[in-house]
């Protein structure tokens, strides 16, 4: 690099935006950069798991017609179309195709290879048609293909990490921001609004969940989609109740008693909530809830999310305590922006960076909790194979080292990679490191 080039670089570095600066700092940490790339690979595997490991061919010619069974399975699952009669209840690998393209791993985790049950080692002789059908990572007691289970397990672990931390971030950012921005003495609302909102809270709970509990309970038994729709209806109902209450509050302002402002100590309330959450033994609680309720992966995600938001809330609270006294917030007030707009458009976006760190570590922790739960055999339905449940199968057949090594290594690597990215972010975002 010539001297002039270097000069240009340093000049442009000086007026770089905050995020460009963070990116530059992050890139200095080679380990973190490689970890991030590895996460991209994991995301790729998770997204395209169906195309990497599946029992259905990607494309095939059968009875003089070309089919794309894998793509079609999506539309069948969604209820848009039905299988052709010749494909109903078939064993895909036994059909006589004219030509066929199978996915890289021609198995689904749920497929049980009867010829290769009783835990066949990857190095042992396997009873398969050809090398194309070999179980590269062996099979378990029931003949499940371990490689297919690992690939689809990637999807589950990534889902658990992202969704649980999404929930945690939502709760944590909201509560932490309210606590940090308003503190103990800045949130003043009229007495009427306070009373109405408390009433609305009870009513919203009642109409959203109380009177709909059987509808919701039945829906979760049918399918996730149905449950999600019902849940959405519940949330819409709750929002409507709150909107109504706040509209009514405007009208109530005509009465002097209800117009009087009261102070709400948000910070104290939120800090107490955080303290309570922290002292609850999380793993114990998750195990208790999951053991009692019907096993489902969604529940596991929700519980992890609802018990790990405290870290995020603490981070954002501390950040907003600083941000709220800065000039740009003052000028937003001076320009007459509403409190909500100042908080959500100006204050929170400028305090989000430390949350990223918490989320990166949070994903690692969530994946670890999920695999621990699966290992203990609770939470995830028995027919779903996850990294943790494959690992626990190794306990039943102690000679099958491949059941322990591969899924355990996958858990270890994924958790480590997220932790490394978290550390990289910590260093990159730390203002003390900036030169």
């Amino acid at each position: 690099m010539s001297a002039t080039e270097k000069e240009i670089k340093t000049v442009s570095a000086a007026d770089q935006s905050f995020w460009a600066n963070v990116k530059r700092q992050f890139k200095k940490n080679k380990l973190a950069v490689y970890s991030l790339r590895f996460i991209y690979v994991l995301i790729f595997i998770a997204v395209f798991a169906d195309f990497i490991a599946n029992e259905k061919p990607i494309a095939c010619k059968y009875n003089n017609a070309v089919y794309f069974p894998l793509l079609k399975s999506y539309s069948v699952d969604l209820g848009f179309s039905n299988w052709q009669p010749e494909f109903q209840n078939v064993t895909w690998k036994d059909l006589e195709y004219e030509w066929v393209v199978f996915p890289l791993v021609p198995y689904l985790p749920k497929n049980m290879d009867a010829y290769n049950s009783q835990s066949v080692s990857p190095f042992a002789e396997q009873e398969v048609k050809s090398t194309r059908w070999k179980h590269w990572l062996g099979t378990d007691e029931l003949g499940h293909d371990i490689l297919a289970a690992m690939i689809h397990g990637t999807r589950i672990s990534l889902q658990v990490g992202l969704i649980s931390q999404g929930i945690a971030a939502f709760i944590g950012i909201l509560l932490g921001a309210l606590a940090g921005y308003y503190g103990d003495d800045r949130l003043k609302i009229s007495r009427g609004r306070l009373i109405l909102n408390i009433i609305a809270l009870f009513l919203a709970f009642f109409y959203g969940f109380g009177s709909r509990s059987y509808i919701l309970g039945d829906a979760i038994g049918i399918s996730f989609g149905k449950f999600f729709v019902e849940l959405l209806i519940s949330f819409v109902l709750m929002t409507l109740i709150f909107v109504l209450a706040n509209l009514l509050a405007v009208a109530l302002k005509a009465i002097p008693f209800f117009k009087q402002k009261v102070n709400i100590a948000v910070d104290i309330i939120v800090s107490r909530m955080v303290e309570i959450m922290v002292s609850i033994p999380t793993l114990f609680l998750s195990i208790a809830i999951v053991a009692i309720a019907k096993p489902s992966i969604i529940l596991v995600m929700a519980i992890i999310g609802m018990t790990t938001w405290t870290g995020i809330a603490r981070f954002i609270r501390a950040e907003l305590l600083k941000v709220r006294n800065l000039e740009f917030i003052e000028s937003a007030h001076a320009l007459g922006f509403s409190e909500m707009r100042t908080l959500f458009r100006h204050a929170i976006p400028n305090a989000l960076s430390p949350v990223l760190i918490a989320i990166a570590f949070g994903i690692a922790a969530a994946i670890l909790i999920e695999s621990t739960l699966s290992f203990l055999g609770i939470g995830v339905p028995a027919e779903t194979l996850t990294w943790g449940s494959v690992l626990s199968a190794a306990r039943q057949s102690p000679t099958a080292w491949w059941l322990a090594i591969f899924p355990g290594f996958a858990i270890f690597l994924t958790v480590t990679v997220y932790n490394l990215v978290g550390e990289g972010l910590t260093d990159a975002l730390d203002p003390r490191q900036k030169k």
């Binding site: 109380g210 107490r272 793993l283 609680l285 000679t399 270890f412 480590t416």
Partner: protein, 474 residues
């Protein structure tokens, strides 16, 4: 300081109430009927009238003794269809079905009438003398009645009704109960006719006062009476005491080992920062920290406990020596069984503590007073151990907060893998068997100890570092 301590202690109260409520809600919504669990059988389907009466009586007595005939909580916030006397219905399955029926049809008095008529029909069937000609038919009717108690869907109920009708018509021996069956059917149609679809959208609050299950449980807990285990009917405390022995033994050794090794490792890796040796240690520690202990435990069992490889250690349990064996022998046996679990429990915290120690030490070593100490010619050892080490202990102190709860709750996974009958394994087993008194007590103890642990850590912090003072805090 005292004020701060009092304030913190006051915060304990809402925290503990919230945790106890959480656990209580969980147990109240759990499937399964604890009374039946304790009686070890489903009461009242087989046999004669007198037998049914005696099992029902046993059920009701036990239910009363355990306090399950009380309302759940001080008040309930439900819709106007549910009755405030529902908790008096004995069986949990019946209660749930009745609640569902009243929610569907919105008319509690009709639902209750239907339930009563169904009960009297059941009693009339049980009153009939059982003989060879009607035994099969009678069992069929009884089965349908048991199902009816748990059914709320209209088509299914209609199906059961028509089944019973058919059986009764074909068996003259059951003629005596036909009239009460008709009454049941009438009550059911009346319930359908008088339904009120909007009643479930009207909120209702019932107040029950202090005579409720939660109040009874929490006051007993405060008094030190933790209840009786549903499974083996022993007092919870004696079950947990046995488990605690093993957990405390395991945790004390592993925590002690972790600290003893971690502190010098952390200090050395901070002092020798930049050398190859240090980098190797730091990397190893990071890897150790990220290795899931359940994976390592599984691998250790596969490779070192029989299987196809080395047979060096026992895979699980604590040995089979009788309790009257000589102490030295028992000690050796137990120690032999505990080597692997202790290793698995301690390597993670070893890595974590030494990383913290290293961080704390690095912070201190860059300070001016360390440079001054070096500049005045103090020997390296003294600088490190006398000046730097003491001041870098602060982050380690906060870790102390985790010790109490960890020591009590034990490691679920490690105890599970190695089948050690400690707290983790006991609570896991209790959870699977829905033995809530045990689960409750274990969770409450862990939570309380977490609270105490954090408080102790904060107090230690202030005691060690004179710059930290809680009394000046606003």
């Amino acid at each position: 300081m005292l004020q701060y301590l009092l304030k913190r202690l006051l915060i304990f109260i809402p925290t503990i109430i919230v945790i106890s409520l959480l656990m209580f809600i969980l147990s109240a919504n759990a499937p399964g009927d604890p009374v039946e669990l304790m009686l070890n059988k489903n009461s009242g389907n087989e046999g004669q009238s007198s037998q049914k009466l005696s099992t029902e009586k046993a059920y009701n007595e036990l239910r009363h003794k355990l306090g399950f005939d009380l309302p759940l909580f001080y008040f309930s916030f439900t819709n106007s269809t549910s009755s405030d006397t529902l908790h008096r219905i004995p069986k949990k399955a019946h209660r749930e079905n009745l609640d569902r029926l009243s929610s569907n049809y919105g008319n509690w008095s009709d639902v209750a009438a239907y339930y009563e008529s169904l009960r009297s029909f059941e009693n009339s069937v049980f009153a009939i003398e059982r003989n060879n000609s009607n035994a099969i038919a009678m069992n069929g009717v009884k089965e349908r009645i048991t199902d009816l108690y748990k059914t709320y869907e209209d088509p299914k109920v209609a199906l059961y009704f028509s089944d019973i009708e058919k059986i009764c018509a074909g068996t003259p021996g059951l003629a005596a109960s036909i009239s009460s069956f008709k009454k049941t059917k009438e009550a059911y149609t009346a319930m359908l006719k008088n339904q009120n679809a909007y009643a479930k959208y009207i909120p209702a609050i019932h107040v029950y006062g202090f005579e409720n299950q939660y109040h009874r449980w929490i006051t007993n807990f405060v008094k030190g009476d933790f209840g009786i285990s549903y499974r083996d009917k022993r007092p919870v405390w004696s079950v947990l005491k046995d488990a605690l022995r093993w957990t405390i033994l395991l945790s004390t050794i592993s925590i002690f080992l972790a600290y003893i090794l971690a502190i010098p490792i952390g200090v050395m890796s901070a002092v020798k920062k930049g050398t190859m040796q240090e980098r190797a240690t730091t990397t190893t520690l990071f890897i150790l920290y990220s290795l899931p202990s359940f994976w390592i435990a599984t691998i250790l069992i596969i490779y070192f406990c029989g299987g196809d490889y080395f047979d060096w250690f026992p895979a699980f349990g604590l040995g089979t020596l009788p309790p009257d064996a000589p102490f030295a022998e028992r000690f050796m046996e137990t120690a032999y069984h505990l080597i692997l679990p202790i290793f698995c429990l301690s390597y993670g915290s070893l890595a974590y503590i030494s990383r913290q120690m290293r961080g704390g030490m690095l912070n201190v070593i860059g300070q001016d007073y360390i440079r001054t100490a070096r500049a005045k010619g103090l020997e390296d050892k003294k600088v490190v151990w006398k000046h730097a080490f003491r001041n870098s202990l602060l982050p380690i102190l906060t870790l102390f907060a985790n010790i109490f709860p960890a020591a009590i709750s034990g490691s679920f996974v490690i105890e599970f893998i190695f089948s050690i009958p400690g707290m983790g394994m006991t609570s896991l087993g209790a959870l699977n068997a829905r033995d809530y008194p045990i689960v409750f007590t274990a969770v409450m103890f862990t939570a309380i100890l977490t609270l105490v642990g954090t408080l102790v850590a904060d107090m230690l912090y202030a005691a060690v570092d004179p710059r930290i003072s809680y009394s000046n805090k606003k």
